[in-house]
């Protein structure tokens, strides 16, 4: 059963058709590279899946059952987590605090409920160890590398037992070594049965980790195929429109 299935999803903003009739499915443990030029509809599609926008028409199925998201929290409850491009983490807090932000662990102290730092650090440490990241729970995010920040954002997603993780340009602004780190994180997610939708401009990254590649052009899905059956040249052609459909 597909972790995520879209059927005929369209999204209009007035007369602008941001998405037209997109049908797509992602299996558990599958990494799908979502590509397209600026304005092709990638981020609109991500926002529809994440519950930021309701689709104008079409349906979304999560693990086979129909889902209706009115706000991001609904999508989160259904097991969808988004790792945003700017990562949505607070530089002034520690890694552990970021992982647990908004769902802090507490313990009882007399009549008061106080934060359970020890527990949060331990759990965050376990998540980082699982992700094979060198991130230390106590360190401030401000002092971290791009790869470590990604690990923090992904640990957040893991904490909630996400079934589907949407990643928006995770490798856009980081060094080559860190890109390798992030790609390893994505492989880890996929090995653990999590479906990953990877939005990226970077062809080599997508070809390294994605099982399938989906290409959007002007709001339409023009390709959805195994990355092994395609080539960067073909995808470039699909993105620009030199190749009509594949």
């Amino acid at each position: 059963m597909s972790a995520l299935r879209l059927e005929g999803v369209s999204k209009h903003f007035g007369a602008i058709h941001a998405l037209s009739d997109v049908s797509l499915s992602v299996e558990p443990g599958e990494v799908i590279g979502l590509m397209g030029d600026n304005g092709a509809g990638k981020s609109t599609l991500v926002k529809v899946i994440a519950g930021n926008f309701a689709p104008s028409s079409g349906e979304i199925f999560i693990s086979g059952s129909k889902a209706e998201f009115h706000r991001p929290l609904d999508a989160q409850r259904a097991g969808i987590e988004v790792v945003y491009q700017d990562l949505a983490i607070c530089d002034n807090l520690s890694a552990a605090a970021n992982v647990f932000l908004g769902r802090e662990l507490t313990k009882q102290l007399g009549p008061l409920r106080i934060l359970d730092y020890a527990q949060m650090r331990m759990k965050a440490g376990e998540l980082f160890a699982r992700l094979k990241s060198e991130t230390r729970p106590r360190d401030l995010v401000r002092r971290m590398s791009g790869g470590q920040r990604q690990a923090v954002a992904i640990a957040r997603a893991l904490l909630s037992d996400a079934k589907i993780i949407l990643m928006d340009e995770p490798t856009a602004a980081i060094s080559v070594r860190q890109v390798a780190e992030v790609l390893n994180l994505i492989r880890y997610l996929s090995d653990h049965g999590i479906a990953v939708v990877l939005v990226s401009h970077r062809m080599p990254d997508v070809f390294q980790v994605a099982d399938k590649i989906a290409v959007l052009r002007r709001g339409r899905l023009v390709a959805h195929k195994k990355s092994g059956d395609s080539s960067p040249e073909e995808i470039t052609g699909l993105i620009t429109g030199a190749i009509e459909f594949a």
Binding site: L87, C90, L93, L101, E104, L109, I114, L115
Partner: protein, 334 residues
């Protein structure tokens, strides 16, 4: 297991070694040293500073600025500013004064004054959080409105008769317990509470998260709007408490009470390490910042320097503290 242990040990050690260097690199530490040094210098240079009477006065003044600096630190750490605190002080004072001079008992006057302060905070917070207006503008408007309301309330007259519970009100703000002025005790208690809230509660955690990256806080599901309202209410409440205490200390209220106080308070918070860009600040820092400001202010008087210079000092302090911060962040990123 043993490798895991040793790794944890190494991390632990490096963190312990870092503690001393962290302390020394901390702004609060240096401000604290400066305040202590200033106290020592004044004790030597003047024979009036270290007298009981002067210290009693200094500690009380310090308490008033310090209490509000706690609230201001919360606001600044959340990424905002509250310019209305000085006016909230006078409105709270005037509320308790008017009610009690009309014959109301203490236990009606004081809660009413605090309720009025909370109301000011709610109005500030709602306009900032729900109408999305800049905190600078909203609280600047409130600065004018609240003081004006205090004038309307009192008909701009001085009030120094507080009805049947007159003595009680004066004892609250002007008296002392076990040799310590009551406002100072209030400051210590409130600082401990604030420090606890910042460090150990979800409220504190969310407040600093919001100040660090409001968008991230929103995306993680933190109720950013309610949180903002609560922060301005907290700030207004500290001003309200100060207002009630200050009536007792002064023994009378005029409508120029707390005028320009927001500047000292913001200076205290910023000198104490609160970052105007948001996300950083401590309760202890607010205390230390208020202490330094008050000691400097007192020293100007004792050293016979015209009080006209006070504004220049306080204003320069804010700018210098922010300049230090800029300098540090430039060095860090460079």
């Amino acid at each position: 297991m043993s490798t895991a242990n040793s790794l944890a040990d190494v991390i632990d050690q490096s963190e312990h070694r870092g503690l001393r260097s962290r302390l020394i690199s901390h702004q609060t530490f240096w401000v604290f040293m400066a305040a202590i040094l200033a106290c020592l210098a004044l004790s030597v240079l003047t024979d009036t500073f270290a007298t009981e009477r002067n210290l009693f006065n200094v500690s009380r003044n310090f308490a008033f600025v310090g209490i509000i600096a706690l609230g201001m630190t919360a606001v600044i750490a959340s990424g905002g500013i509250d310019l209305s605190v000085g006016s909230t002080v006078v409105l709270s004072s005037m509320t308790v004064a008017v009610l009690m001079s009309a014959g109301m008992p203490f236990w009606i006057g004081v809660p009413a004054a605090l309720a009025v302060a909370i109301l000011v905070g709610v109005v500030n917070g709602v306009l900032i959080a729900y109408a999305g207006m800049p905190s600078f503008v909203v609280t600047l408007g409130m600065l004018s409105v609240a003081r004006s309301l205090a004038m309307v309330l009192s008909n701009n007259k001085m009030i120094y008769q507080f009805g049947p519970d007159h003595a009680l009100l004066l004892a609250l703000g002007g008296g002392s317990t076990m040799g310590l002025p009551n406002p100072l005790i209030a400051l210590v208690v409130l600082a401990a509470i604030t420090g606890f809230l910042f460090r150990w509660t979800r409220w504190g955690q969310h407040l600093f998260a919001m100040g660090g990256n409001e968008n991230a806080a929103k995306l993680t599901g933190i109720p950013v709007r309610q949180l903002k309202v609560s922060v301005y209410v907290f700030s207004a409440l500290t001003a309200g408490i100060t207002g009630v205490l200050e009536v007792g200390w002064l023994g009378g209220v005029t409508t120029n009470l707390g005028q320009g106080m927001e500047l000292s308070v913001i200076a205290a918070a910023v000198i104490g390490g609160a970052n105007l860009a948001g996300g950083i600040g401590t309760a202890f820092g607010a205390l230390v910042g208020a202490l330094l400001i008050e000691v400097i202010r007192n020293s100007l008087i004792l050293l016979g320097i015209s009080t006209f210079w006070q504004g220049a000092f306080v204003g320069s302090f804010i700018v210098i503290a922010v300049a230090f911060d800029r300098f540090r962040s430039i060095r860090q990123s460079g």
